[in-house]
């Protein structure tokens, strides 16, 4: 009885495991089995390889994107440096990191004539960081503004029109930080009246630090991407520094009472650029993808990305968007009307987010962790 029993039950269990595994894995294998598309790897922020963006391209080119989503620029650099060369075919990077990518030799040179750069607004044709010594290494594909994100039940638009609102007594413990020093300190620097928030001398830097420290008692937490979403959504935080429409736009669509405002002190601009990874075996396909996503059609898609909406630099993309989804075009300010986002940039209200010029990145970062810990 005993031995056979053990064997039997052993077999059953083994069989069970195997069948379980097989059943669970079937959809995956079967899907792969009949299509067998080329796999294209993408290193990007969350959302860039989701079906709403890539499905059409995938179908047209029999491609399957394999994304690795990172949680920040440094995380991205870490992932590249710790993976074998050629792991990532397409790399999406925030503009300030592009130079680091290029200097580290992580990206291939692009041929400018391959892309419809002429359709871009002039401000974006020679976008800082995309070019190095006259060579093109990446192409800006979308951007957005950072200002004051606020809960519309708690604050009026007028109240949110200045960074000073973060110090408002009624927001005590209800102000959140997107946990990255660059946008937050840049905004404080703007509040302090620095024309270029990132190019400040020692005295101005000290002033920024002091001003930031005075905000600490108001702060309810330091959040990553996901945490920012949920804490704004459920009213856990009523105002947020360091973010913009890329977060509140998504929440708004879901019915949350949140919005972003560009305050009178000015806003910051984030920009995302596509590059081709060094040593990519599918560089041709990667190029095709960048052509697609920077074309008018791809740009319109990109503007409405489900994960987070963004502004687009391609003028023809604006046209497509205004036909496809005029409401969204209007909401984001990408219409030909006066006061649209390009005019805001031209009026000098928006500054590029970038690395500090007169201090080292380390210094800003060290201050940020001290601030968090205080």
């Amino acid at each position: 009885m005993t031995k056979s029993n053990i064997l039997q039950s052993g077999l059953t269990r083994r069989a069970l495991l195997a069948t379980g595994a097989a059943t669970l894995a079937t959809p995956m294998f079967s899907r792969r089995a009949f299509a067998a598309p080329t796999e294209l790897t993408m290193l990007a922020w969350y959302g860039h390889a989701e079906p709403d963006i890539v499905a059409e391209f995938e179908a047209e080119n029999n491609v399957k994107f394999v994304p690795k989503y990172y949680t920040g620029g440094d995380n991205m650099l870490g992932l590249i440096s710790q993976s074998p060369v050629g792991t990532f075919d397409v790399i999406l990077s925030d503009a300030e990191y592009v130079q680091a990518l290029q200097q580290a030799g992580y990206v291939e040179e692009l041929t400018a004539s391959d892309y419809e750069i002429d359709d871009y607004y002039p401000e974006f044709q020679n976008f800082p960081g995309n070019w190095s010594d006259g060579k093109l290494f990446s192409l800006v594909t979308r951007f957005g503004f950072l200002g004051v994100a606020y809960n519309t039940d708690a604050l009026t638009e007028a109240e949110a029109s200045t960074y000073n609102v973060f110090w408002d007594e009624k927001l005590k413990g209800k102000v959140g930080h997107f946990d990255w020093h660059l946008p937050n300190l840049g905004q404080i620097s703007q509040l302090n009246g620095n024309a270029n928030p990132y190019d400040i001398d020692a005295a101005a830097w000290q002033a920024v630090k002091d001003k930031t420290m005075s905000l600490r008692p108001q702060i309810g937490g330091f959040f990553d991407y996901g945490g920012t979403f949920s804490s704004l959504n459920d009213g856990q935080m009523l105002a947020f520094a360091g973010i913009g429409d890329w977060i509140t736009g998504v929440l708004e669509k879901n019915g949350a009472k949140v919005r972003s405002a560009i305050p009178e002190e000015g806003g910051l601009q984030w920009s995302e650029c596509f590059s081709i990874g060094k040593g990519s075996a599918k560089a041709e396909l990667a190029k095709k993808w960048i052509q697609y996503i920077t074309s008018a059609k791809g740009q319109a898609k990109s503007a409405q990305m489900a994960a987070y909406p963004a502004l687009i630099p391609n003028q023809k993309g604006w046209d497509v968007l205004n036909v496809e989804n005029p409401a969204e075009a209007k909401r984001q300010g990408m219409t030909k009307d006066a006061g649209n986002v390009i005019e805001m940039i031209r009026a000098g209200r928006i500054k590029n987010r970038q690395w500090p010029v007169q201090q080292s990145l380390e210094e800003w970062n060290d201050f940020w962790s001290e601030y968090k810990g205080s």
Binding site: M1, T2, K3, I6
Partner: protein, 359 residues
């Protein structure tokens, strides 16, 4: 019953680190004999058995089996099956699978294996349990399975390590006769390790008594019982009165409880020498009155009484506090005032004493 030795221990020493478990063992085990190795725990009896089985390797010396040295032979190449104190039956195998195990290990085909195992089950009268789980068997049944499992390879020698210690008294006696009968029937050698006198003396042809790694005495049950050679053996058997003192050189022994005549066996120790003399409890007598001159005697007080079936043992305390014992049938005792504290004479005939070494 002398025959050529099946097993020879030649100056075998076994050390575990600094601890010497067996000291210089020389022993011959004959073909077809039932040999018991007896001693208290830690005396080296189990280590001796394990060395023979090949489970422990001797530190020094040589062990021969059928004339061939087997020191370097691992246990699985020895054919020295053992019955374990814990029985060590395989709990995940049923009865017949347990019995077949050794055959399977020897590469015997499945069919033959089954037949031979079934034979042994029948022989041990446990055929009906063939497909039972070990956990479902009683103690006695397990014992039989363990025996069958070891004997199925038809070895020349069977090693038994206190196999009966877990059984109750009634079952023990039954299994003893089973074992004895089996050994006679098979005509093979049994080496039986035990701490129990009754098991050793009732079954074995020869008994080896060990203490602290040393063989104290080898002999038949009768020889050992009647004439323990050493003080240890006498104490271990626990059935003698022991008197220690100094010889006066004239055939007398001076002890704290009196002067006694030494046995007249021609080995009278020289004067002043420490000497120990023993007399069996069954050869000791009790009386209210001082016994005659043909007896030596000690004055003592009763401290207790123990019934052992047809006889009873009276425990007494001598004047110096040493303990004495006398075994008598109930009729004899009925004539005596047996009460705790009652002073009596314990006596014996000098020719029924003998000397033991003091080692």
């Amino acid at each position: 019953m002398q025959s050529e030795p099946l097993v020879t221990f030649n100056g075998v020493i076994k050390k575990f680190g600094a601890f010497v478990a067996v000291q210089k063992l020389d022993l011959e085990i004959h073909k077809g004999e039932f040999l018991a190795i007896m001693g208290s725990s830690g005396c080296g009896k189990t280590t001796t058995l394990r060395m023979l089985a090949g489970l422990d390797a001797p530190t020094e010396g040589e062990i021969r089996l059928s004339g061939k040295p087997i020191n370097d032979l691992p246990t699985w190449q020895r054919d020295t099956p053992m019955v374990w104190q814990s029985l060590a039956l395989f709990p995940f195998l049923n009865v017949i699978e347990n019995v077949e195990f050794a055959l399977k290990m020897r590469g015997v085909g499945a069919k033959e294996r089954r037949t031979r195992a079934e034979n042994w089950l029948e022989r041990m009268q446990i055929s009906e349990f063939a497909t039972r789980n070990i956990a479902q068997l009683s103690g006695g049944q397990r014992q039989r399975v363990a025996l069958a499992r070891s004997l199925v390879v038809e070895p020349e020698i069977l090693l038994l390590d206190e196999p009966l210690s877990a059984l109750d008294a009634h079952l023990k006696v039954r299994m003893q006769s089973v074992l004895q009968g089996l050994q006679r029937e098979l005509g093979i050698t049994f080496v039986y390790v035990t701490h129990s006198q009754s098991e050793a003396f009732s079954m074995a042809d020869r008994v080896v008594i060990m203490s602290k790694g040393i063989v104290e005495q080898v002999g038949t049950a009768q020889e050992i019982y009647r004439a323990p050679k050493t003080r240890f053996v006498a104490e271990f058997l626990g059935s003698s009165n022991i008197f220690s003192g100094k010889s006066d050189g004239n055939g007398m022994l001076a002890t704290p409880v009196g002067k006694f005549r030494l046995p007249q066996d021609g080995t009278s120790p020289q004067k002043g020498r420490s000497t120990t003399m023993v007399v069996l409890d069954t050869r000791s007598h009790l009386s209210v009155e001082e016994p005659g001159s043909e007896f030596d005697f000690v004055h003592a007080k009763i401290i207790g009484e123990e019934f052992t079936g047809a006889t009873a043992t009276i425990y007494l305390e001598a004047e110096d506090g040493s303990e004495l014992r006398v075994q008598k049938d109930h009729d004899t005792l009925a004539a005596l005032p047996i009460d705790v504290g009652q002073p009596l004479y314990v006596s014996w005939r000098p020719n029924e004493t003998h000397l033991v070494s003091d080692a």
